[in-house]
Point group: C2
Chain length 142, copies 2
Amino acid sequence: MTNKVQAGDLLRRHGIKKTRQREAVLRILAEAEAPLSVDNIHVTLRREDNTVNLSTIYRMLEMLLEKGLVEQMHHPLGNRFTYALSAYGHSHHLTCTRCGVSTRMNGCPLASALGLLEANHNFRITGHRLEVFGECATCRVK
Amino acid sequence: MTNKVQAGDLLRRHGIKKTRQREAVLRILAEAEAPLSVDNIHVTLRREDNTVNLSTIYRMLEMLLEKGLVEQMHHPLGNRFTYALSAYGHSHHLTCTRCGVSTRMNGCPLASALGLLEANHNFRITGHRLEVFGECATCRVK
DNA sequence: TTGACTGCAAAGTGTTTGCAGCGTC
DNA sequence: GACGCTGCAAACACTTTGCAGTCAA
């Protein structure tokens, strides 16, 4: 997987001022396998002695959201939002209700259904959130 | 639509003690067209001089959730949960990002895709949440 | 140099919890 | 009469906001 997103590039391309904090947060998001909460990002950064204030992370994610660079979802366990770079395209996750781990699903199972939905309900769809939960293979073995 | 859910019946059938508060909350849920937040329920009841404490509503919804009598979703606007009776079966909603109104969609667009998802990811799916948003017909005209 | 960004602290919002009293069965 | 339910108030967790100092361009 060519998981290398150049934080600097991304910022420049979207006319966003480059700062240490922004590069750091973007890097963490780019390296993540699963969506991260604000706290996840904060803790991860702290672990590398690269602190960024919580408010700064919140403000940054809001901006990235507006620019469409990030997707926001709501973690089914633990009432909080999580975020993932949308650079790799729209995606959804399967979350295990036992261990809490999320894994990305291949493609969007709704892609084909959206057109029909729009027509049936006379509604212009601009986005959707899907969260699927259950038991992952590892937890099921136990 | 046979929208008449007998609150008393539902409670008795599931071995839940009957109280004024529980009947009231169930009735409000049964009458609702769209999912309601805890605050929605609280305000609606207050309007009819039938106050029920917020904590009571929270506790009750948690219990109904465990018994599978209610579905919980997360409103895409305004960070909060909403609830709907699942007596009519599993359902999803289209939420207008302009006026905030939710309308129920016919059927579940994922029903057919879930089996494939389970197989592809070696994951036992026990539930999912889907929220679709965009612009409703009314707002689009304006 | 200037406007945008950051950190800090405080406030806001939705939700949960402990406890004493009340009501249902 | 016993146990579970309710209301109240306080605590909690996540998120947002105001403001003054700092930094990238």
